[in-house]
């Protein structure tokens, strides 16, 4: 334990990162910066190769746009089709500052809400650019034929989301992520047809190739055949999503992983704010150890549903028979101002607290009721069905329980990770030529992401920011010609071959899933909704022990030269076991509560999160120092010139 704390203390003594935000008024930063960028002539663009890893909102849109510009794009994804990236599962909507509702919205207000929602831990310049680009995204997607919801007059419809005071969310039923992703995918397939983008579906990036300090290519494994190959380029754009599955159970797809990001981290890209994770309050609780994922129920349910648990830990009656006086409506009691509509982080933590007190319901005791009895009495069953019918059906399908007659059971689940590879204003990592976009970077959401903002960020990065900054980088640095014949490629490739061989040769007794499940338990118990020093220190040592066990006793079946899901997963779990430790270190180091990061030691007398701006108003970016050393931490100080940090109160 002492060892861990001293390593963490060492970590603070390191350099300051330069975000390279241009000078000038924030409203004009992006426009002025674009005007000053260097350009690559149209005829020369096809001579430059750009690798884009990932085909979600960020990757698909970046690859398509770079292709349209004329670059030779190599695009990779782990799914069997670029259309299956996990962005497809986003439900609610996408924010934009169009002010179509004439309710006082503006670019500034979207910027303000996002900075405040991120609990003052994001970079103002990036967030302002995001708010500006939000409008262009809607224009672009509408032109692509994305079937957004419409008013009878033919104009776009909006709805409110996530407790914001304006209606700025554009949506396509409950499938907004799907429709936006298919829009980006269609643009991408158009470029595949045009020959500017070469698609490598079912390929997993396993390493970054760095030549003369610049990102110049990747090593990838063909998941159908097991073939390992290298690809060279002038720049690499990483759009590989977040790392919620470090908890094993999350709302993410089962193939979501941190491997591409983590391998880049090991090649010199700093990992920023790994401890910032979003735990979504309204998910269907875990029903058993067999479970492979958790299903998100839209948080709109809290508009009419009342959250409660029995007052007595030894309650045995079915919910309908528990009288009002024996019910604890803990959100309404603790937060009379906002009641059931407190923000995600608060609602999640409160659910955990009542369950930790033994008041939780269901077989596991880790669930709370979300009750529509009062809403059905007040509004009638038909109105409730009209608003939430599809969600009730989904709940019924999964649990075989009828939410109309007995309350739903819900519990928080890992959903999104705000942390990710550190990037500057250009979205370039600390490895020159390696750009990172979408959930994979740390950039815009600070310590907590607002609803309907993830889609906005992915597309802003991919359609607008990355294509401009990658062009500028290529024009500016004029990268020397490099092919996969360079020795760095062979070295990286043989390293990956060795990793594969090693995983397959252990032939121990533990399955990959078992070990991943155990990691998830350690992470959830100690690096989940509430964290404290002793828990985090324990987590670090437990993870180290588990990692040792993994490399001694994992059983990866099959051969390297075929479809081998267990082998794929094993490599990802190995990376999660390292990332989990860095998350714990980062959480330990950040001795304050902010957004999704709650430290038991840093709370007000009423149990609310307490930020420490004096000591922690910075980004923590971790640098890999080799397999046997603790990573070192670098800081990027954050400045708030436009939105003054204040305390969030929901009482």
């Amino acid at each position: 334990m002492n060892d861990v704390t001293s390593q963490a203390a060492d970590a603070t003594a390191s350099s300051v990162l330069n975000s390279r935000v241009p000078e000038g008024p924030i409203e004009d930063l992006w426009d002025n910066y674009q005007a000053s960028m260097k350009l690559v002539a149209p005829a020369n663009r096809r001579k430059h190769t750009v690798i884009v890893v990932g085909t979600g909102l960020a990757g698909g849109s970046a690859a398509a746009t770079l292709g349209e510009m004329g670059y030779n794009v190599l695009n990779f994804c782990i799914s069997d089709s670029p259309r299956r990236a996990h962005s497809i599962a986003a439900q609610g909507g996408i924010n934009a500052a169009k002010n179509y509702r004439n309710d006082g919205d503006s670019i500034y207000r979207l910027f303000y809400d996002t900075v405040k929602g991120g609990d003052f831990r994001s970079r103002e310049a990036n967030v302002y650019r995001l708010a500006q680009l939000s409008n262009n995204i809607i224009d672009q997607c509408v032109s692509q034929g994305v079937p957004f919801a419409r008013e009878y007059g033919g104009t776009l419809a909006n709805r409110s989301f996530g407790g914001v005071q304006v209606e700025r969310t554009f949506y396509a039923r409950g499938q907004t992520g799907q429709q936006l992703l298919l829009g980006a995918y269609s643009a991408l397939m158009r470029q595949v047809d045009a020959g500017t983008v070469t698609m490598h579906a079912h390929h997993e990036m396993l390493d970054l190739v760095v030549v003369d300090g610049q990102a110049r290519g990747i090593v990838a494994r063909d998941l159908n055949t097991g073939e390992i190959r290298t690809f060279a380029a002038d720049a690499v754009v990483l759009c590989t999503g977040g790392y919620s599955p470090v908890f094993f159970l999350s709302t993410n797809a089962v193939n979501c992983n941190a491997t591409a990001s983590w391998r880049c981290y090991k090649r010199g890209a700093h990992f920023a704010n790994p401890c910032y994770t979003q735990i979504h309050p309204t998910c269907i609780p875990q029903a058993g150890d067999y479970q492979s994922k958790l299903t998100l129920m839209s948080e709109s349910l809290r508009n009419d549903g009342r959250v409660w648990v029995p007052r007595n830990a030894d309650e045995t009656r079915p919910p309908a028979q528990i009288p009002e006086e024996d019910r604890l409506y803990y959100l309404e009691e603790t937060y009379p101002g906002f009641g059931n509509l407190v923000p995600r982080d608060i609602a999640s933590r409160a659910a955990k607290q009542v369950c930790d007190r033994g008041l939780g319901v269901g077989t596991s005791g880790f669930a709370v009721y979300l009750d529509f009895e009062e809403a059905i009495q007040r509004l009638g069953r038909d109105t409730v069905a009209g608003r939430y019918g599809n969600l009730f059906d989904m709940y019924h399908e999964i649990t075989a329980e009828d939410p109309y007659s007995s309350p739903m059971r819900i519990y928080p689940a890992p959903h999104y990770t705000m942390g990710g590879l550190w990037v500057d204003y250009d979205l370039m990592s600390t490895v020159p030529g390696l750009f990172v976009a979408g959930e994979a970077n740390f950039s815009d959401h600070g310590a907590n992401r607002l609803g309907a903002s993830a889609l906005m960020q992915g597309l802003a990065d991919g359609y607008f920011v990355v294509p401009a900054t990658v062009s500028n980088y290529i024009a500016d640095t004029k990268p020397a010609a490099v092919t996969t014949a360079a020795p760095e490629f062979a070295a990286a490739e043989s390293g990956i071959r060795d990793d594969v061989k090693k995983l397959l040769s252990i032939k121990g007794k533990r399955t990959v899933r078992e070990l991943w499940w155990e990691l998830g338990r350690i992470m959830w118990d100690n690096v989940g909704m509430a964290r404290n020093a002793s828990g985090l220190e324990a987590a670090i040592s437990e993870i180290q022990g588990l990692r040792e066990e993994f490399w001694k006793d994992v059983n990866v079946p099959g051969t390297p030269d075929e479809w081998n899901k267990m082998l794929e997963t094993a490599a990802r779990v190995a990376d999660f076991m390292e990332l989990g430790e860095v998350m714990a270190r980062d959480a330990l180091e950040r001795r304050e509560s902010c957004g999704g990061h709650f430290r038991d030691e840093s709370q007000s007398a009423e149990g609310e999160a307490q930020r420490n701006d004096a000591d922690f108003q910075h980004v923590s970016a971790w640098e890999y120092k080799g397999p046997d050393s603790a990573p070192t931490m670098h800081k990027e100080p954050l400045h708030f010139d436009h939105v003054k940090p204040g305390t969030r109160s929901y009482k």
């Binding site: 069997d80 299956r84 799907q178 579906a201 067999y290 479970q291 492979s292 075929e562 479809w563």
Partner: protein
């Protein structure tokens, strides 16, 4: 184990590679809980197989909530199994009886070569999409979003078609292995929207040519595709595709 656990007899298609011969192989799996999803039941089987030293059954899946379109199995002769409007991952084991035999096969079509066991290669769908499943508009050249009014009814019908998750159950279920429902869903979405009209003719001709070149079968209007579609996409889209085609070639 839980008292409500059941035992199922599985007959699973095993095929070691694209060119290898395959066959149905029997497995007995105990301790299956009714609340498990079908894929979690197969996870349980694979954990067991790994511990026993048997090669686990290759399946692919991702979101496990019915939207990504990755999973797809033919369960007892029906693509995506017994629940209508649901993908394989949304099927729960409570749909099966204790002791029931469940036959599990891959989506079968010449255009979808088997990669291994229950995993098939559906890249043909991407190639159909590349032939015209888009509106030709470059990033940055879009007009103000509300400059293009769209009738609400058209937007809704377009959205119905756009819900397609590209899982290929339509092909798997079609007695002719036709890709008409998939192709027509995308053609319909764009045909119904003003943004898509400009190149509607070129799109339908190119996408149909691509669909044919991939070697999918023709359509006999059986409607099995609609019945198994997790998003319940209507075969009227196929009718619309034919009208669009006729308009384009006349």
């Amino acid at each position: 184990m839980a008292s409500n656990a059941i035992t199922v007899k599985l007959l699973i298609w095993r095929q070691s590679g694209p060119t290898a011969a395959g066959q149905l192989v029997p497995f007995t799996l105990e301790n299956v809980l009714p609340e498990m999803s079908f894929l979690e039941m197969l996870d349980l089987l694979n954990e067991k197989l790994v511990r026993e030293g048997t090669d686990p059954v290759a399946i692919d899946s991702d979101c496990r909530e019915g939207i990504c379109g990755t999973c797809g199995l033919v369960i007892n002769g029906i693509a995506h199994g017994p629940n209508s409007g649901a993908a394989t991952c949304e099927v729960r084991m409570r749909s099966f009886r204790d002791g029931e035999t469940i036959v599990i096969e891959p989506f079968r079509a010449a255009s979808f070569p088997v990669i291994k066991d229950l995993v098939v290669d559906r890249a043909a769908f991407d190639r159909i999409m590349a032939a015209g499943g888009y509106v030709s508009i470059n990033t940055g050249s879009a007009p103000e979003a509300n400059a293009i009014p769209v009738q609400r009814a058209s937007a809704e019908t377009a959205m119905d078609a756009a819900s397609c998750i590209g899982c290929a159950a339509c092909v798997a279920a079609c007695p002719n292995a036709s890709a008409s429902l998939f192709t027509s869903a995308k053609i319909s979405q764009y045909a119904l929207l003003p943004q898509g009209r400009t190149e509607a003719g070129r799109r339908v001709v190119r996408m149909v040519e691509a669909m044919d070149a991939e070697g999918f079968g023709n359509c006999s209007n059986h409607g099995e595709c609609e019945a198994v579609c997790p998003k319940e996409i209507s075969i009227f889209n196929i009718g619309r595709m034919r009208r669009e085609y006729l308009k384009a070639v006349l």
